[in-house]
């Protein structure tokens, strides 16, 4: 799990390539529509990475991830729209509040695991969905949500730079962190929590760190997402399809890898986008569900593992 020079070089290439990509818009190689699709992929990658730290590593599967994303998004939306708080303050506050939400989500993990935990997290999401609609709709906008929220960018290119920079920096930070012994310990929890405790490590504290990290990323992503869109709609945010898109992106890309969810998010977003003209309705989800199933059956490690195995074969062929 060591950090190697070639890994850092790949990250450097990825970041440089990402930052140069908008130049292709001017040359006409890619359109602004494609850039907007990439923006959505960047945000999905952030949400999938945050799920990966929390659930992919520890094995505590959360079906209620929008609970955390929603806290981040609503906190900054309410602060800026209703109380005129500047964005540079509202976003850090939103991230902190989401981390408190992460600690709340952690409470059931002290006692329950597996499918029971997953169901409780789903209940958390449903609870917040109902709460934002009935409690102080003058603040939350009720069922209609909120619009006119301050946006940080104008146009696709600026939106792209914001989302890509955020995704790449967050991804690199989480990837680096998961390469340390902390990442090893969190992965070990997902494999055998009792053995981690049997190795003298406080598993409660480790899980709390994973939940807070996941909440940090979800809150950051949620807050920036709402300031990119300029609006928030509870029905779209607390939607079960949104939950599954996040989870499938992480799994199809490769859980517990950080880079996998980035691949997964791009793969899924573009797949859904390309299917849109052919299958404009919800049947697109059938296709992506089928592809996710095939990838997962063929290689449970996801696209990340398929790529890793492929590169290893190439290396062996080059140096037999």
């Amino acid at each position: 799990m060591a950090v190697r020079g070639r890994h850092l070089a790949l990250w450097g290439l990825f970041m440089a390539g990402g930052l140069l990509l908008p130049l292709l818009v001017d040359t006409g190689i890619i359109g602004r529509g494609t850039l907007r699709t990439i923006i959505m992929a960047n945000f999905l990658a952030i949400f999938a990475m945050s799920w990966d730290v929390l659930s992919g590593r520890t094995g505590y599967i959360s079906f209620g991830h929008p609970f955390l994303i929603g806290i981040g998004a609503y906190t900054t939306a309410i602060l800026t729209r209703r109380f005129d708080v500047a964005v540079e303050y509202s976003i850090p506050i939103a991230v902190l509040v989401t981390m408190i939400g992460g600690a709340v989500l952690f409470i059931p993990a002290l006692r329950i695991r597996g499918s029971y935990f997953a169901l409780v997290t789903l209940a958390f999401m449903e609870l917040v969905y109902q709460l934002v609609q009935v409690i102080r709709p003058d603040l939350t906008g009720g069922t209609r949500g909120m619009s006119g929220i301050v946006t940080l960018t104008k146009g696709a290119v600026q939106g792209y730079y914001l989302s890509f920079t955020l995704m790449a920096l967050l991804g690199f930070f989480l990837w680096l962190l998961m390469k340390t012994r902390l990442g090893t310990a969190l992965s070990a929890i997902g494999m055998n929590e009792d053995s981690v405790a049997g190795s003298g490590l406080n598993t409660t504290r480790l899980k709390l760190v994973a939940f807070m990290l996941g909440a940090f990323a979800a809150g950051l992503g949620g807050a920036f997402y709402v300031h990119y869109l300029g609006s928030i709609a509870p029905r779209a945010l607390f939607d079960i399809n949104f939950v599954f898109t996040i989870i499938v992106a992480a799994l199809i890309g490769g859980a517990a890898t950080i880079t996998g969810p980035i691949f997964g998010a791009f793969f899924l977003t573009f797949l859904l986008e390309y299917l849109r003209p052919v299958l404009p309705g919800a049947e697109r989800y059938l296709i992506y569900g089928g592809i996710a199933l095939l990838v997962y059956m063929y290689q449970p490690g996801g696209l990340h593992k398929i790529l890793e195995v492929g590169l290893e074969r190439l290396r062996k062929r080059a140096n037999p």
Partner: protein, 242 residues
């Protein structure tokens, strides 16, 4: 001087079932004790209570004279107890070195993040239990049962215990592997390690222990030198079916 480990009147009930019924014994520093008895005698339940994985219904557990009943499992491990399991529990997607790394980790998040792994120590521990250099990057799925038990010993030793509880350490091993594990226990004993060993393999156990404690249906039925316990009428009746 207080005993290394002392159990007094330990009782564990699961509803109406009494799994441990008033068991008391002492283990002195550097001693090696065999814990024997038929299936369901309560041997593993005693281990789980010593480790804090199961809370006792009543009774005392003292480690170097200190009551450890309220301590969590990691806290007990920090105070010097280590345990292996009847069915090895490795981290299946990690290689041998990474498995040992978990045992070597400090229970401190900052140190986990800012201090790198001690690869020399990981390798040293793996080789010291008899794993070969070729095994170091293998995952548990690629190891034999004997090597899995060695790996578990190495991970337990990484926590620097002064007393090791070995549960069915010879189960599923070939004669050669039994001999290797036996030699390893012998070497650790020479270095002053204290052992409490559960095993059904009595011939393998005999040369490794100073004395034996026999259990049946949660009760201690005999204690003494290996031969003496084997000749005990109650032991023969319950354990050996004699």
């Amino acid at each position: 001087m207080s005993a290394c480990l002392e159990l007094t009147d330990l009782v564990k009930k699961f509803g109406g079932l009494v799994a441990t019924s008033g068991v008391s014994f002492k283990v002195e520093q550097g001693e090696s004790i065999g814990l024997i008895g038929p299936n369901g005698a309560g041997k593993t339940t005693i281990f789980s209570q010593i480790m804090g994985e199961l809370r006792q219904t009543s009774g005392k557990i003292l480690l170097y004279g200190r009551d450890i009943r309220r301590l969590s499992t990691p806290a007990r491990i920090k105070r010097g107890i280590g345990r292996t399991y009847q069915v090895p529990r490795p981290f299946r997607e990690m290689n041998v070195l990474e498995n040992i790394r978990v045992g070597l980790m400090p229970d401190n998040i900052w140190k986990m993040v800012f201090e790198g792994p001690d690869r020399d120590r990981e390798e040293e521990l793996a080789l010291s239990v008899g794993l070969s250099p070729g095994d170091l990057l293998r995952t548990p799925a690629e190891l034999s049962m004997g090597d899995l038990r060695k790996l578990e010993m190495a991970r337990t030793m990484a926590t620097e215990p002064s007393i090791m509880l070995l549960d069915e350490v010879f189960a599923g091993l070939t004669k050669g592997e039994i001999s290797q594990i036996g030699d390893l226990i012998g070497e650790l004993r020479d270095d002053g390690m204290t052992f409490l060993i559960v095993s059904h393999d009595l011939p393998a156990l005999e040369p490794l222990v100073d004395r034996c404690i026999a259990l049946d249906q949660g009760r201690k039925i005999a204690e003494g030198p290996f031969d003496e316990v084997m000749r005990d009428e109650a032991v023969r009746a319950s354990y050996l079916g004699g």
